[in-house]
Amino acid sequence: MTPKILLDEVHKSFGTRSVLQGISIEVAQSEVIAFIGSSGSGKSTLLRCVNLLESIDDGAIFLDGVDISAPGLNADPVRQKIGMVFQSFNLFPHMTVLQNVSLAPHKVLGQSKKESESHARELIARLGLSDRADGYPDQLSGGQQQRVAIARSLAMNPEVMLLDEITSALDPELVGEVLDVVRELKSNGMTMLLATHEMGFAKEIADRVCFLHEGQILECASPTEFFNNPTHERTQQFLQRVTDAGRL
C-alpha cells in the first residue's frame, strides 16, 4: 500500500543555515506521528515543508504517491488536502468566527455561501463554540481561538492535518480543550503530523514518536518504546531534561 505521506531525503536550508538534513519517513493512512525535539531542531520547518509553505532544496515529498514537491507544481490544490494549524492560531482578525471557517470552502471549493456557512456552523458546534460563531477572534480565549483554527482547517475536509505546536501559546488550563479535539480527530482516523512539547500527549495519542535533532530524525518508535527505552544518546539526554523540568 502506498503510504499516505512519504518524505524522501528532504533537505532545507535558510541561507547558510541548514534546517533539515535528509529527513525520510513514511506515514501510513490514519497514522499519527508526533515530532519532538528542542526548539530549532526543525519540527516546524518540517511541517511547513509538507504544507508547501516552504519549498524544499532537495529530496521529495509524496502525498498518496504523487510528488507534491516537484518544482513548479501548483501548491494550492495540494494545500486543500493538507490542513495546517499554527502555534499562534493565525486567525483572520477582521472576520467573525463563522467567516473564518467558511471563507475557504466558499472561495476555494466553490461552495455556495449558504452551504459553506451551514457546514461551518456544524463544525463550530462540533467544537463546542456555537455561541461564539458571530464573535471576532480577539474576543475569544486562546483555547477557543485554537479550536476555531482547527475548525477552519477541517472545513476544507483535509486528508492530512499538520499541527504545529498548537498548545504552546495556551495557558495550561486551556490546553485540555484543544487536545480533546485532536483526540476526536484521531478516533475519526485522521492522518496527523504533530510537532509538540506535550510529552504526555505525544505518549497518549501518537502511533509513533520521532525525535528530531539538528534537522535529522534520530529515532522513531512506538510511544512506549520511545519513552521507556530510548536508544539514542541524544534522545536520552533530551528526555532526561524534560523529566527534570517536570514535564513528563
Partner: protein
C-alpha cells in the same frame, strides 16, 4: 495650550453625597495634581496671550496691518462670495478623493505583484510614484494644467477644472499608494501562511485577507493626506478656476485690501481643524487599540 488630562479621577466628583466611599490616597493625590497642572496651564496661557495682545499693537506698522488685513467691513462684504467659491473647492475635492483612493490602491497592488509577466506594471508603478512624489504639487498642476490644454482639444477637454483635478489625482495617488503599500507590508506573514495553508491563491489571499486588514490600519494616515488634499485644491486657482483662493485674489484687487485672504484662511480652518482633530482622535484610538494601555 491646556495639556490633556487623564480622566482617571474624572469619574469621581466632589459631590455633596457624603455617604460615598472616601477617596483613596492616590485619588486625593491625583486630584490635587490635576488641579495644579490646570492652574499652571491656565496662568501661562493667559500670560502669553496677554503679552501678545499688549505688545503687537505697539509695533509701528500695526495700524496699517490692521486696516489692510483685519478690516471688518471688507470681511463682511467679501465673506459670502468666498463661501460660495469654497463650494467649488469642496466639489473638486469630492471628485478627486475617490479617484485617488482607487488609483492609489491599484498602484500599491501593482508594486506587490511578483509575476514576471506583470513586471512592466510593477516598473510603471514604481516610476509613477517616484516621479509624482518627487515633483512639487504646484509644478504638476502648472505643467499639466497649461501643457495639456495646449494640445488644442475642444471643450470640455481643455477645461482647467479637468486638468487641475487630474494633476491633483496624479500627485496624491502616488502619496496614497505609498500609504497603502506600507499598510499591505505591515500585515504579518502569519496571516499569509494561514490563508495559503487553506488553499487560497495568492491573489485571493491579497483580496480577502491582506487588503481588508491593511485598509483598516491605514485609515488614520490616509485621512491626513486627505486633509492636505483639501488645502492643495486651492493651488488649482493658478491655472484659472475661480475657487476660493482665486475669489480672494479678485476681491483683494477690487478693495486693494488683503482681508479677503484672511477670510479665505478662516474658511479653510473651519473645515480643516475639525478634520485634523478627527484624525488625531482616530490615531490615538488606533494606538490604544494596538498597544494596550498607555504609560503615563
Amino acid at each position: 495650550m491646556v495639556p490633556e488630562m487623564s480622566d482617571h479621577s474624572g469619574a469621581i466628583s466632589l459631590s455633596e453625597d457624603s455617604s460615598r466611599r472616601p477617596l483613596s490616597r492616590r485619588q486625593v493625590f491625583e486630584r490635587r495634581q490635576k488641579r495644579r497642572s490646570l492652574l499652571i496651564a491656565l496662568a501661562s496661557s493667559l500670560a502669553v496671550i496677554g503679552l501678545l495682545v499688549a505688545l503687537i499693537p505697539q509695533t509701528p506698522g500695526w495700524y496699517k496691518v490692521k486696516r489692510s488685513f483685519f478690516n471688518g467691513p471688507i470681511l463682511d462684504e467679501t465673506f459670502p462670495a468666498l463661501l460660495r467659491a469654497f463650494v467649488k473647492d469642496i466639489q473638486i475635492f469630492l471628485w478627486c478623493a475617490p479617484c485617488i483612493l482607487v488609483l492609489g490602491m491599484l498602484l500599491a497592488i501593482c508594486r506587490n505583484v511578483r509575476s514576471p509577466l506583470l513586471f512592466p506594471l510593477r516598473l510603471f508603478a514604481a516610476a509613477y510614484t517616484d516621479i509624482f512624489r518627487g515633483i512639487p504639487v504646484i509644478l504638476t498642476i502648472l505643467l499639466i494644467g497649461f501643457g495639456i490644454p495646449g494640445l488644442g482639444m475642444d471643450r470640455p477637454w481643455n477645461s482647467p477644472y479637468l486638468w487641475g483635478s487630474v494633476a491633483l489625482i496624479l500627485a496624491y495617488s502616488s502619496y496614497v499608494s505609498e500609504v497603502f503599500r506600507a499598510g499591505i507590508e505591515s500585515i504579518h506573514e502569519s496571516q499569509r501562511a494561514g490563508a495559503r495553508s487553506l488553499g487560497l491563491s495568492s491573489s485571493q489571499t491579497l483580496r480577502h485577507i491582506i487588503i481588508p486588514q491593511a485598509i483598516r490600519r491605514v485609515i488614520p494616515p490616509l485621512m491626513n493626506d486627505f486633509v492636505s488634499l483639501q488645502k492643495d485644491v486651492a493651488l488649482i486657482s493658478l491655472i484659472g478656476p475661480i475657487e476660493i483662493l482665486r475669489q480672494a485674489g479678485i476681491d483683494k484687487s477690487k478693495y486693494a485690501n488683503f482681508t479677503p485672504y484672511v477670510g479665505a484662511a478662516i474658511i479653510f480652518l473651519l473645515l480643516t481643524i475639525p478634520e485634523t482633530r478627527f484624525v488625531d482622535h482616530l490615531m490615538s484610538r488606533e494606538r490604544r487599540r494596538t498597544s494596550g494601555t498607555a504609560v503615563r
